[in-house]
C-alpha cells in the first residue's frame, strides 16, 4: 500500500533564531517587529477555543489593544476541557531548594518527549514557566501553600524534582478560571467580543493566506462569516478519535482538521499519549473514561498478582504473592516512571494474563502502605476529591480496597505544524496549546500541558503575532470576498448532505467502530500489518459513513447530533492519517511503540540516525494519499540517549 504521495518541494522554515540556546528567545523578542500601540486597534484577531491557550491568548491580546473575537462551542468559555486537568503545572522556580533550574526543566521535558521535539521551543517553554506561576497567583489562583504562606510543590511522573504547583486535584480548573477571569475582564473593557455556542467549521484563505473563518451558531444553526487579520487555533487535542478517551465528549478535531484541508501541515499525528491511571472500562455502553491524576503514583503502589488469573480479593493476596512490577523493573523511578512507560507495562502484565478486575484489563494502585505511613487523613488531604470521584464511579472505597486502573487515551502530542512563532504553514493561521505539535515530542511529561497552553497564550503569541501583523495591511479582506461565499456554500452543502443520507446506522455506531480500530491497531502498540489493516478499514468506514449514517433533525436548530456527525466525519479522516503516520515511522519513540523496534528487554528502541525528525503531512484530497514531509531535528545542547528509568 502506498503510505504517502511523492514528496513535494515544500520548503521548511521553522524560524528558529540563531545564537546560543539560552539566548534565542531573548534575542528573538528583541528582533521581531512590533505593531505600534495606536495601530493595534486596526487589527482583528480571531481566537478559536477558550481553554488555557485560547483564554490566555484572547485576554492578553485584548489587553495589548488588538480587536479580538473569541469563539467556543460550549455555553461558556469556562467549560473548555482544560478545566478537567487535575494534577498540576510545572515551573522551574526551585522553591523546593532541590536544585531545579530552567535548564533542568528543559532537559527533563525534551528527554521525556524522547527527543522528538525542538530544543529551542522546549527551552523557551521552560524559560517562561516561572512567569506563568506569577501571573496565576496575581489573578487569585489559590495554589497549595504551607503554613508560612509560601507555595508548595509536589513531584510528578518522570521528574526527580518537586516542581509541580497544584490546587488540590483541580489545578486545571483553577488555572482556567484564572484565564477566564482575565478574559471576562477584557470582554468588559470592550476589546474582546465573545461568541459562545459557536463552532468554527472552516478556515477562509485568500491566495493561501488566512483571512477569517466560517462558523455555525449552535443555537440557531445560522452559518456566519468572520474576517480577521490573524486566526489563532486553540482547539485542543483529538484524543476522541479513539472514541473512548479522557477527553470531554465535545472535544474534537474539526477546526484543526479543516485547517489541514486548507493547507496547514499536520505534525506527528500518530503521537498519542495513553495515560496509565484511568478507571477501567466497565461495559459496552461506556461513553468516556475518567482519569485518576498521575499524582496518585506519588503515594500509590502499582501491582498485580504474581500468578496468572488470580481471582482472590486484593486484600487477601499476601505481600510475597504481589508483583510491584514498576518498582521491580525500574528501581530508581519506581512508580514515578513517565506515562508511556507505565502504560506499556500495564498492558504487558495484562497481556500476560495477570490483569485484575472483571475484564482482566486493569492493575491495582494501592494506598495501603501510604495510609499506614502517613495516616488516612493525610491521604485524604492530598487526594480526597479523586478518591471520592473513584468511589462514585466504581462504588468501591479506595481507602479500603486498592484502586483498579488501566491506561486510556489522554493527550495528543501531534497537532498542526507550527514554526517558532507558532504560525502554521498557512500565513496568518497560528496554533497554540494542545492543537499544535510543538513542545512535547513523542511523549508529554505530567504537568507540562497546562504549562504549554498558558506559555503559548500569555507569553509567546502576544510577541510573535505582532511580527506577522506588522507585515500586512489590516482589514484588506472583508466577508463579501468570494472566498467567504465559496467556504460558506461548501459548509451549507455538507450539512444538507449529512441530513439527507438518512441511513441505518447511528453516528455513535460509526464512532465506536472507528475507536475500536484505532485502539486495537493504532493504540498502545503498533505494527506494520495492523497499521495497513487500519488504513484499509478506516477508508472503508469513511465510505460507509457517507452512505449509511443517520443524522437526525433540521439544519437551522439546536442539533447536537448534527455537530457530532461533522466531528465524527473528520475523526474518520484523521484516523487514517494517524495510521499512515505511525506506519511511516518504524522506530519506537515515546508514546509511539512499534513492535518491530524494541530492545531485548522489550523497551522502546529509538532510531535517531533515521528518524530524528518531525513528520508533517500535507493534504492532497480525501482519496489521495497525503504528502509526507520531514523537518530534521537538530540537537546541539542535549545528548541523545536511550531513555532509561531503571
Amino acid at each position: 500500500m502506498e503510505v504517502a504521495s511523492k514528496k513535494s518541494t515544500f520548503k521548511w522554515d521553522s524560524k528558529i533564531p540563531t545564537g546560543p540556546l539560552t539566548e534565542k528567545w531573548k534575542t528573538h523578542k528583541n528582533n521581531i517587529k512590533l505593531v505600534n500601540p495606536s495601530n493595534k486597534r486596526k487589527y482583528n484577531i480571531i481566537v478559536v477555543g477558550t481553554g488555557l491557550a485560547g483564554a490566555s491568548a484572547a485576554a492578553s491580546l485584548g489587553e495589548l489593544g488588538y480587536n479580538v473575537k473569541a469563539f467556543c462551542i460550549q455555553d461558556s468559555a469556562r467549560r473548555a476541557h482544560s478545566i478537567a486537568a487535575q494534577g498540576g503545572i510545572n515551573a522551574a522556580k526551585n522553591y523546593a531548594n532541590d536544585g531545579d533550574s530552567v535548564w533542568r526543566l528543559f532537559y527533563d521535558t525534551i528527554k521525556g518527549g524522547d527527543y522528538r521535539s525542538r530544543e529551542a521551543n522546549v527551552y523557551r517553554l521552560a524559560e517562561v514557566s516561572n512567569s506563568i506561576i506569577d501571573q496565576c497567583v496575581a489573578q487569585g489562583v489559590p495554589f497549595a501553600r504551607d503554613y508560612g504562606g509560601m507555595l508548595v510543590n509536589r513531584s510528578f511522573g518522570g521528574a526527580q524534582l518537586s516542581r509541580t504547583f497544584y490546587a488540590r486535584g483541580q489545578t486545571g480548573q483553577q488555572l482556567l478560571l484564572g484565564a477566564y477571569s482575565s478574559l471576562m475582564k477584557t470582554i468588559k473593557s470592550g476589546k474582546v467580543k465573545m461568541f459562545t455556542r459557536e463552532e468554527m467549521l472552516d478556515l477562509v484563505t485568500v491566495d493561501g493566506v488566512s483571512k477569517g473563518i466560517i462558523s455555525r451558531n449552535l443555537v440557531t444553526g445560522k452559518i456566519n462569516r468572520h474576517a480577521a487579520d490573524a486566526v489563532l487555533l486553540c482547539t485542543g487535542g483529538y484524543g476522541n478519535v479513539f472514541y473512548l478517551s479522557t477527553n470531554a465528549k465535545n472535544s474534537n478535531v474539526t477546526a484543526a482538521w479543516r485547517c489541514y484541508r486548507k493547507g496547514a501541515l499536520f505534525g506527528n499525528p500518530s503521537f498519542t499519549q495513553i495515560h496509565p491511571t484511568c478507571i477501567p472500562v466497565s461495559g459496552e455502553y461506556q461513553s468516556k473514561l475518567t482519569l485518576m491524576s498521575e499524582s496518585l503514583r506519588n503515594d500509590g503502589r502499582v501491582w498485580v498478582p504474581k500468578a496468572k488469573n488470580d481471582k482472590r480479593h486484593p486484600n487477601d493476596i499476601p505481600e510475597d504473592e504481589r508483583d510491584y512490577y514498576l518498582e521491580r523493573i525500574y528501581p530508581s523511578f519506581g512508580n514515578l516512571v513517565p506515562r508511556d512507560v507505565a502504560s506499556r507495562n500495564a498492558k504487558n502484565v495484562c497481556d500476560e494474563g495477570r490483569g485484575v478486575g472483571p475484564s482482566g484489563l486493569a492493575v491495582y494502585l494501592d494506598f495501603r502502605d501510604a495510609i499506614k505511613r502517613d495516616s488516612e487523613q493525610a491521604i485524604r488531604e492530598r487526594y480526597g476529591n479523586l478518591f471520592e470521584m473513584y468511589e462514585k464511579i466504581t462504588d468501591e472505597n479506595p481507602y479500603k480496597v486498592p484502586m483498579r486502573i488501566y491506561p486510556a487515551v489522554h493527550y495528543t502530542m501531534g497537532g498542526l505544524w507550527v514554526d517558532y512563532n507558532l504560525m502554521t504553514t498557512v500565513p496568518g493561521l497560528f496554533a497554540l496549546g494542545e492543537a499544535n505539535f510543538s513542545d512535547h515530542g513523542a511523549n508529554r511529561l505530567g504537568a507540562s500541558a497546562l504549562m504549554q497552553g498558558l506559555a503559548d497564550g500569555y507569553f509567546v503569541i502576544p510577541y510573535t503575532v505582532g511580527d506577522y501583523l506588522s507585515g500586512i495591511t489590516p482589514g484588506d479582506v472583508n466577508t463579501d470576498h468570494e472566498a467567504f461565499d465559496q467556504a460558506e456554500k461548501a459548509i451549507v452543502g455538507e450539512i444538507e448532505k449529512l441530513l439527507n443520507i438518512k441511513g441505518e446506522k447511528t453516528i455513535l455506531d460509526f464512532h465506536r467502530q472507528l475507536g475500536k480500530i484505532m485502539w486495537d491497531k493504532v493504540g498502545m502498540s503498533r505494527d506494520e500489518k495492523g497499521l495497513n489493516e487500519a488504513i484499509a478499514e478506516i477508508s472503508a468506514l469513511r465510505k460507509e459513513f457517507w452512505e449509511n449514517v443517520f443524522v437526525p433533525g433540521e439544519p437551522a436548530t439546536y442539533n447536537k447530533y448534527l455537530e457530532y456527525a461533522m466531528r465524527v466525519a473528520d475523526f474518520i479522516e484523521l484516523g487514517e492519517l494517524m495510521a499512515r503516520d505511525a506506519l511511516a515511522r518504524p522506530e519506537s519513540c515515546g508514546g509511539h511503540f512499534r513492535e518491530e523496534s524494541k530492545t531485548p528487554e522489550g523497551e522502546a528502541k529509538r532510531d535517531d540516525e533515521n528518524y530524528a525528525y518531525v513528520s508533517a503531512w500535507e493534504f492532497k484530497g480525501v482519496d489521495t494519499p497525503p504528502v509526507h514531509h520531514e523537518e530534521p531535528l537538530v540537537f546541539e545542547n542535549v545528548k541523545l540517549t536511550q531513555r532509561s528509568y531503571k
Partner: protein, 251 residues
C-alpha cells in the same frame, strides 16, 4: 445500592422544541439498563433508541462527564443533579435507582436561564455576572514573584473552598427565589480571602450584586437549598461573606 444488575426505568422527560414552544413531558421506558451505567449514558441509550426509530433525540448539555465542567443541568426527580449529594448529574450512576422506578427529568427552571431546547438552557447570565467584576484587574506580565506576598494556608485553603464552583447553576435551580447568590458569593468570597482581591474589593461586590439583580435572579431568603444541591459542596457562608462585603462597600 440496587441489588439488580439490570433494571427497567420509566422516564418522564421534558421536551420543548425551542424557546417559544410550550413544552411537555414525554414518557419513555428503557429496559436492561445496567446499574454501573452513568445517568448520562442512560440518556445516550435513550437517544440511540430514538434515532434507530428515526425520531428526534432529546437535547441535553454535557461535556466532561467527570463533574468539573459544569455543563450538565438536569433536575432529576425534582432535585437539581439528582438524589446523590455532592454529585453532578454526569457522576450519578444508575445504581441509585430502583427497578421499575419512574424518573422525571427537567431542565433548570429560572427566568434568568431561558430554555433553548428540551433540557438545554441559556446560562450566559452567569458570564455577565463574572464580567461585572469576578476578576483581578492585572495585565499579563505585570505580576510580582509568586512568593512575594505570603498567603496563610488557612486563607488559601478557604479561598479554594469557594473557588471550586463549577458554575453549573444548580443553586439557582434549587432556590425558590431563583437566586444566584451562592454562585456570585463564591467568587466574591474567594477574592475577599486573598490579598490580590483587596484593591477592587468594594467595587467588585457592588458591580456583581447589581448585575445579578439586573439578570432577573431573585434575592436570597436563606432557604439553604443551594448548599444542599451544590455538587462541589460550596458553603452558604459564601452568601454571608457577600453580604458583609456589600455592606462594608457601602460605607
Amino acid at each position: 445500592m440496587s441489588t439488580h444488575d439490570l433494571i427497567t426505568v420509566h422516564l418522564k422527560v421534558w421536551r420543548q422544541n425551542g424557546p417559544n414552544d410550550r413544552g411537555h413531558f414525554e414518557d419513555y421506558t428503557l429496559k436492561d439498563i445496567t446499574t454501573h451505567m452513568s445517568f448520562l449514558e442512560m440518556l445516550d441509550v435513550l437517544n440511540e433508541n430514538l434515532m434507530k426509530e428515526k425520531k428526534t433525540p432529546v437535547e441535553f448539555d454535557h461535556d466532561c462527564r467527570e463533574g468539573i465542567c459544569g455543563s450538565c443541568n438536569l433536575v432529576i426527580n425534582g432535585i437539581p443533579h439528582g438524589p446523590q449529594m455532592r454529585t453532578a448529574a454526569c457522576q450519578l450512576h444508575m445504581r441509585h435507582f430502583k427497578d421499575n422506578e419512574t424518573i422525571t427529568i427537567e431542565p433548570w427552571r429560572a427566568k434568568a436561564f431561558p430554555i433553548i431546547k428540551d433540557l438545554v438552557v441559556d446560562r450566559n447570565a452567569f458570564d455577565r455576572i463574572m464580567e461585572a467584576g469576578g476578576y483581578v484587574t492585572m495585565a499579563t506580565g505585570n505580576a510580582p514573584d509568586a512568593n512575594a506576598v505570603p498567603i496563610s494556608k488557612v486563607e488559601a485553603d478557604s479561598a479554594m473552598d469557594y473557588a471550586v464552583c463549577i458554575g453549573c447553576g444548580a443553586c439557582v435551580a434549587s432556590c425558590p427565589n431563583s437566586s444566584a447568590s451562592l454562585f456570585t458569593g463564591a467568587k466574591i468570597a474567594q477574592l475577599a480571602k486573598l490579598p490580590q482581591g483587596a484593591p477592587e474589593r468594594k467595587k467588585r461586590v457592588i458591580a456583581m450584586v447589581e448585575q445579578m439583580e439586573k439578570e432577573g435572579f431573585g434575592d436570597c431568603s436563606n432557604y439553604g437549598e443551594c448548599e444542599a444541591v451544590c455538587p462541589v459542596g460550596i458553603s452558604i457562608s459564601a452568601i454571608a461573606t457577600m453580604r458583609t462585603e456589600y455592606v462594608k462597600a457601602l460605607f
